[in-house]
């Protein structure tokens, strides 16, 4: 397997892990809810970089979701230090929910 393939595989693994992290209020995982804006693995620095948001800027569950995302990245990519940043620019919108997420919530 090439280095590029291994890099992609690690990103896929991290995303797959994040699919087990739910927003406790909505009951939908953070990936399908559209909270994960960017995810990258810095191979040389041994870091996993995640840019994410919450559904509202003062989400009462924000602290918990952030801790769970960080923990999930640690567990799926051991040896890579998670660096999670929360942004509200752009703010989360309902149209960021994936098609799978919409089906889970009842769809249109």
């Amino acid at each position: 397997m090439s280095e590029a393939d291994e890099h992609e595989e690690r990103i896929s693994k991290a995303i797959a892990g994040l699919k087990f992290v739910d927003d406790p209020e909505v009951g939908l995982n953070v990936v399908d809810l559209g909270l994960i804006y960017e995810l990258d693995v810095k191979e040389e620095e041994k870091k996993v970089i995640c840019l994410m948001t919450f559904t509202t800027e003062f989400c009462p569950m924000g602290e918990s979701i952030l801790a769970n995302v960080t923990e999930s990245l640690k567990m799926t990519l051991p040896g890579y230090a998670p660096e999670v940043t929360v942004t509200f620019d752009p703010a989360w919108r309902q149209d960021m929910i994936s098609e799978e997420g919409r089906q889970f919530l009842g769809g249109y």
């Binding site: 087990f20 739910d22 406790p24 209020e25 909505v26 009951g27 559904t55 509202t56 800027e57 003062f58 989400c59 009462p60 569950m61 924000g62 602290e63 918990s64 952030l66 801790a67 769970n68 960080t70 923990e71 999930s72 567990m75 230090a81 998670p82 660096e83 999670v84 940043t85 929360v86 942004t87 509200f88 309902q94 929910i97 919409r102 919530l105 009842g106 769809g107 249109y108």
Partner: protein, 430 residues
């Protein structure tokens, strides 16, 4: 951020230690009020100005509804204003003053001994509201952005302060001549400042944010909410001025219709938010909260009939006044609290227990922390008790009143059971 559990740009929620005492106190007050209702059904056959009814009303208004709303507000105001609560100490002070003052005041009404213990109770309640008002004002003033929901909450808090200050003056007026007329004359003003200014305005402000949020609805309409805000506040100011300067009784219809127009606009807002929701499956607590919005129309209609009865000099005013108060305190307010408790408290408890247990695998969700069977039984007994007791007030049948109060007491027991289950939750409970 590197390995830190909390990013610098992630705001902290209000500590559960601040919020939970209010919920526990409110639950016990509801139970106590239901017991008093059952033991005071004979008071519902006569005039509304009776010691037991004053005690039940103040226990429901302050001990139950206000304490739960104060607790929830300490958690929800930061969500509305998108900033931290200014002070936990002020929140504790608000709880302490309220928790000590309410029993003194209620006991004073129940025994109709309005001497110093009841007056001390009244002063403590005012201190509780002052602490809350200062906390909300300071929190909002530090907020990055202004929004209509925060304006609703702040204005409601000011009306609450006016309500308790007037209430305190009325209390002292029973024993010392403070006001130009006797205290009974001002009760309608005191009641409506609290009901419309505090409870209604606050529920509209918080509900207009939370209902679309919980439904994951795209619908927003600040202009409509501003219209609701202006209608309700104009109604209150007109009513207050009319009361103090003696307007013609027929003009009471003006503020009543303004409030009704505001409520219809708010109901339209909720309907649109519901129609445009992404989350199709609506849970039971959310259904109860939406039902409570509909239940607002009941006291509004009773009020319109009551004004008509007062104008026509027909009899039955006392019955209508009792029904009006009952449909507010045991109807609309209780319904919304029964629903919203199980939308907010499970998250507070969940955050307390599971926030730092991310590494422990699959965790229960907040809705798994209370019994849904007990919740459904509570909802059904509550509705049955409400209908039976309401029918008892209208018909004057003691049997209906006792049956209704008994079933409402059962609903209060079930509510307390589920709240107790939540508050005593351990991390690995099944």
């Amino acid at each position: 951020m590197f390995g830190s559990p909390l990013g610098s740009n992630v705001a902290r929620t209000t500590s559960y230690k601040v919020v939970i005492p209010f919920y526990a106190y409110g639950a016990i007050a509801f139970l106590a009020a239901a017991v008093l209702l059952l033991t005071s059904t004979s008071s519902f056959g006569g005039h509304w100005f009776q010691p037991q009814l004053l005690a039940i009303t103040h226990l429901m208004a302050l001990g139950w509804a206000t304490m739960i709303i104060l607790g929830a507000s300490h958690q929800l105001v930061p969500v509305l204003i998108e900033n931290d609560l200014y002070s936990n100490k002020l929140a504790y002070a608000s709880f302490g003053f309220g928790a000590a003052g309410i029993p003194l005041l209620v006991h004073g009404f129940f025994t109709f001994n309005l001497g110093w213990p009841a007056q001390l109770g009244g002063v403590l309640v005012v201190c509780a509201v002052l602490a809350f008002t200062a906390n909300i004002a300071a929190s909002i003033s530090r907020s990055k952005r202004e929004n209509v929901h925060a304006v609703f909450v702040f204005t409601a808090t000011i009306w609450l302060l006016l309500t308790v200050l007037l209430g305190l003056a009325l209390l002292f007026n029973f024993t010392t001549s403070l006001l130009t007329r006797d205290s009974v004359h001002y009760l309608a003003l005191h009641a409506h400042l609290g009901l419309v200014g505090w409870f209604l305005l606050l529920v509209l402000g918080v509900g207009s944010r939370l209902i679309p949020m919980f439904l994951i609805s795209k619908y927003t309409n600040p202009r409509l909410l501003w219209a609701v805000f202006i209608l309700v506040n104009t109604a209150l100011v007109l009513y207050g001025l009319g009361f103090l300067y003696g307007m013609a009784p027929v003009l009471n219809y003006v503020p009543a219709l303004l409030v009704l127009a505001g409520l219809l606009l708010f109901a339209h807002y909720c309907r649109r938010a519901y129609a445009e929701r992404i989350r199709k499956k609506v849970d039971d607590p959310m259904k109860a909260s939406l039902l409570a919005v509909g239940m607002l129309l009941l006291p509004s209609l009773v009020l319109i009939v009551l004004i008509g009865a007062l104008l026509s000099s027909a009899g039955g005013h006392a019955t209508l006044v009792l029904l009006y108060g009952f449909t507010i305190f045991f109807g609309w307010l209780t319904a919304i609290i029964l629903g919203m408790t199980f939308k907010t408290l499970p998250f507070i408890v969940w955050n307390k227990i599971y926030r730092h247990r991310a590494a422990l695998g699959k965790m229960p969700s907040p809705k798994d922390l209370f019994s849904h069977r007990v919740y459904k039984a509570m909802g059904l007994t509550y509705l049955a008790g409400f209908i039976l007791f309401g029918a008892g007030i209208l018909s004057g049948a003691p049997l209906l009143l006792r049956a209704g109060a008994g079933v409402l007491l059962l609903a209060a027991v079930l509510y307390n059971w589920n709240v107790g289950k939540l508050l005593t939750r351990k991390p690995f409970n099944k």
